[in-house]
Amino acid sequence: MSYIPNTREEQQAMLEHMGLSSLEDLLETVPADIRLDHPLALPAATSEPDLKRLLGNMAAKNKNIDSTISFLGAGTYDHAIPSIVPHLQLRSEFVTSYTPYQPEVSQGMLQAIYEFQTMVCQVTGLDIANASLYDGSTALVEAVLLALGPGGRGDVVISDAVDPQYRRVLHTYAFARGFSIKEVPTRNGVTSLEELDAAVSPTTAAVIIQQPNFFGCVEDVRAIEPIAHKGKGLFVTTITEPAALSILASPGAYGADIAVGEMMSFGNTMSYGAPALGFMAAKQKFMRLLPGRLVGQTIEEGGEKQTGYVLTLQTREQHIRRERATSNICTNQSLLAVGATIFMAALGKQGFRELGELCVQKAHYAFRQIMAIRGFEGAFSSPFFDEFVIKAPVSTAKLQRHFEQAGIIGGYPLDKSYPGMDNCMLFCVTETRTKEDIDTLVKILKEVQA
């Protein structure tokens, strides 16, 4: 299927109109010795109906979470998507637009992003937010780069209970940029306060935790805040499960300087993990240091001085500042931000709270039921939101085989990312799991024991 509207005959007429005879005439600047002398070795063009069949079959080889029961979280969460979200988010005026460089014909996207920035502030309790970043892990990197300042040298302290993938990404950037990372171990599933205190020095640029952390545990952020702030460093909190913001104290309330994280699970499909929706919220004083796009409200230059929205503070950005930009970000995740905005508007003040209550109650029910099975125990006694770690009497590989036989997707095995955590699996229970789903999981685990 070709999407080129002009026929070969029309194209020939266009060429002749210009006094040319063939398309080849337009390729004269491409030297002959680097011209491809054969067609690309790719499958032949395929029609729409044939592709639908072919890709439908390929998609069917994947076990999707609507066709099974899944207790996977670990950074990617299944929250119900109200029907209105995709119907509105996927309107083609949003989908097929570019970064809103011409604000007069991009008011829709600009206003939606302004609303997104506002809602991110409302749920995080911080003053300002940007228009989105690639994903939670790169949002964390951007927060660290902000904290390090120009030059990017210095050291940062990060809890071991921050998502292992995020830490891996941070290490990759540390290699390129030349900063150093100190990792702080956990105790009972939460960041060790003593070891955190020992790690933070006057030269520390940022102290990073995750709330709730990768084990699902709720960090004692009230105790961490003074330690994080004992030097000049910034207190950065990472949020991969934003539903927890409806129940737990907001980063603004506990004194975080910057909150970053992942909001894909608000209104967007998980699509094998991405495209995702990184966000960054911060205290007002960091406004001119923020990476990425920012939308601001303004008024018309003339006429009725009516309200409108524009990309603003662009002198921070790569297309103006080039090598001195605050970040190299150009593309962000606008369309996913629109999805999250509609999601939060739809749930609203009350629904957002109910979402969190459902998650926390269902997860605790599941935890109690599993704890009642002989041989299974909670790995930690720290409080948690909608994820928890279970230590099983058998290996996680064996557990996985049981789940596979039962046709469900279990939790996330922790032994690969955390050597020493043998037999430990991270289970997530959101509002989309029913009591019946949980009871099924418990039944399967009982059979493991038997």
């Binding site: 063009a45 970064t99 709720v218 094998y272 495209p275 593309t331």
Partner: protein
């Protein structure tokens, strides 16, 4: 002119637009589960609106937005081609949209197969050895590529290489990415006759800094829309001093099936799948910026990478020299599904025809506009070209910005303005291959009319746009007194 109130200014206490599943488990006291000091004290002040209000609000917002589906979008270097609906349907299949990134490999065989095959397609299209699909966008690909180059030089005990050569017409992301990778950008000038790299200047840079050159970053065709015919010689010169060649794939739409960065001599290439492979730009994202590398850089690729054996498809962790990981999970999978579908739709001949048609449309527009607007480099262009409004400014005080704004009144988006920086009053025009001759002719007729207006009634151009939902907005005020969020009780300006 009209205003749409913010969602926060709509609704009433108690309204809502989503229902929650039943609480079907016995509930316990929250305070028994989580210490009260760690709990939220007040509800987040999100809107309280009904379903009909949400639907009307965001429908209205969409109507206040212009996309490729609305009309012509000649935004240079952004490749605003048509986004096939088939690709959206495929990406939305539950087997692609509703899978978790940490599922066991044997439950996602179709997904791994797709990325495995897409990797092979992109390697073939670019002439590279291996691809990583991890980078989230072009700039992310640039940074990843530079990290690979850094790791490679270090492995050769050449860690002193700290300079990256970047042409003065390069995308802003190039120097910004170089800085982020802890390199220093060195600018190489454009040859004002050919529009390619000034070879003497390049020679001088290589002679004086040879052993400190890490790489050169190039776009070919470049942002002037011109193919640099010296590319093979440039590759030889840079390689001779031990530097690597980085290909910014923003303009790859012009080379599909015609020539390949790998054959030109590049060591690293990034794709912008949201440009070349027609995946929608979504108002600024998501994009996807896979990179391809030559053999010597493969060991440094981020992981995991898809592999295939008799058991099926699986993810394999990279070796010890890998730079690690540049984002969580495996890349913008939803975008990759669309790109895969696009490549399969077109096939090899179709992709070449995409490039040829993009080049034809650009040259046709250039030819038709030339009597009214000076073309910065009046030679055969590739997928785009740069016109200048310098005469219009000098003679009538009308700028490229004014012309861009006036275009909006005719139901079209504007070209990229004031870029590349080396052309004054630049209007960078990229029609793409998916526009009809009639659309191109209409654009030309409007541009001619605007040029007429500039002579007879310049005010109408200088005060444009006149038919959009808002007039020209006060950018200076927005930057001077930034208002980045709504707060309850804030002064409403409309």
């Amino acid at each position: 002119m009209s205003v749409e109130k913010l969602i926060f200014e709509k609704g009433a206490p108690g309204r809502r637009a989503a229902s929650m599943p039943a609480m079907d488990v016995p509930a316990e006291s929250l305070a028994d589960m989580i210490p009260t000091g760690l709990l939220r004290e007040e509800l987040a002040p999100l809107p309280e609106v009904s379903e009909i209000e949400v639907v009307r609000h965001y429908t209205h917002l969409s109507q206040r937005n212009f996309g490729v589906d609305t009309g012509f979008y000649p935004l240079g270097s952004c490749t605003m081609k048509y986004n096939p609906k088939l690709n959206e349907d495929i990406a939305a299949l539950p087997g692609f949209a509703r899978i978790h990134p940490l599922q066991p490999d044997d439950t996602v065989q179709g997904a791994i197969q797709l990325v495995y095959e897409l990797e092979q397609y992109l390697a073939e299209i670019s002439g590279m050895t291996r691809i990583t699909l991890q980078p989230s966008a072009g700039a992310h690909g640039e940074l990843t590529g530079l990290m690979l180059i850094k790791a490679y030089h270090q492995s050769q005990n050449e860690g002193q290489r700290n300079l990256v050569i970047i042409p003065d017409n390069a995308h802003g992301t190039n120097p910004a990415s170089a800085t982020l990778a802890d390199y220093k950008a060195v600018e190489v000038k454009t040859d004002t006759k050919t529009g390619g790299i000034d070879m003497d200047h390049l020679k001088g840079i290589l002679e004086s800094h040879g052993r400190n050159i890490a790489a050169i970053m190039m776009t070919n065709p470049n942002t002037l829309g011109l193919f640099d015919s010296n590319i093979v010689e440039i590759a030889q010169m840079v390689h001779e001093v031990g530097g690597q060649l980085y290909y910014d794939g923003a303009n790859a739409n012009a080379v599909l099936g015609i020539t390949r960065p790998g054959d030109m001599g590049f060591d690293v290439v990034h794709f912008n799948l949201h440009k070349t492979c027609s995946t929608p730009h979504g108002g600024g994202g998501p994009g996807s910026g896979p990179i391809g590398v030559k053999e010597h850089l493969v060991p440094f690729l981020p992981g995991p990478l898809p592999e295939k054996d008799e058991q099926g498809y699986r993810w394999e962790d990279p070796g010890p020299q890998s730079i690690g990981k540049v984002r969580a999970n495996l890349g913008n999978f939803g975008v990759l599904v669309r790109a895969y579908t696009y490549i399969r739709s077109n096939g090899p001949d179709g992709l070449r025809h995409v490039a040829e048609s993009a080049i034809l449309n650009a040259n046709y527009l250039k030819h038709e506009l030339a009597p009214d607007y000076e073309i910065a480099y009046p030679i055969t262009c590739q997928h785009e070209f740069v016109a200048t409004a310098q005469h219009q400014k000098d003679e009538h005080g009308v700028t490229a910005l004014d012309i861009a704004k006036r275009l909006l009144d005719f139901g079209m988006y504007a070209p990229t303005t004031y870029f590349p920086l080396i052309v004054h009053e630049a209007l960078m025009i990229e029609p793409t291959e998916t526009e009809t001759r009639e659309t191109l002719d209409y654009f030309v007729s409007v541009m001619r009319q605007i040029n007429q207006e500039i002579r007879t009634n310049p005010e109408i151009v200088k005060t444009a746009p006149h038919t959009t939902v808002v007039g020209r907005l006060d950018q200076a005020l927005a930057a001077r007194k930034p208002n980045l969020r709504w707060t309850a009780g804030q002064e409403v300006t409309h």
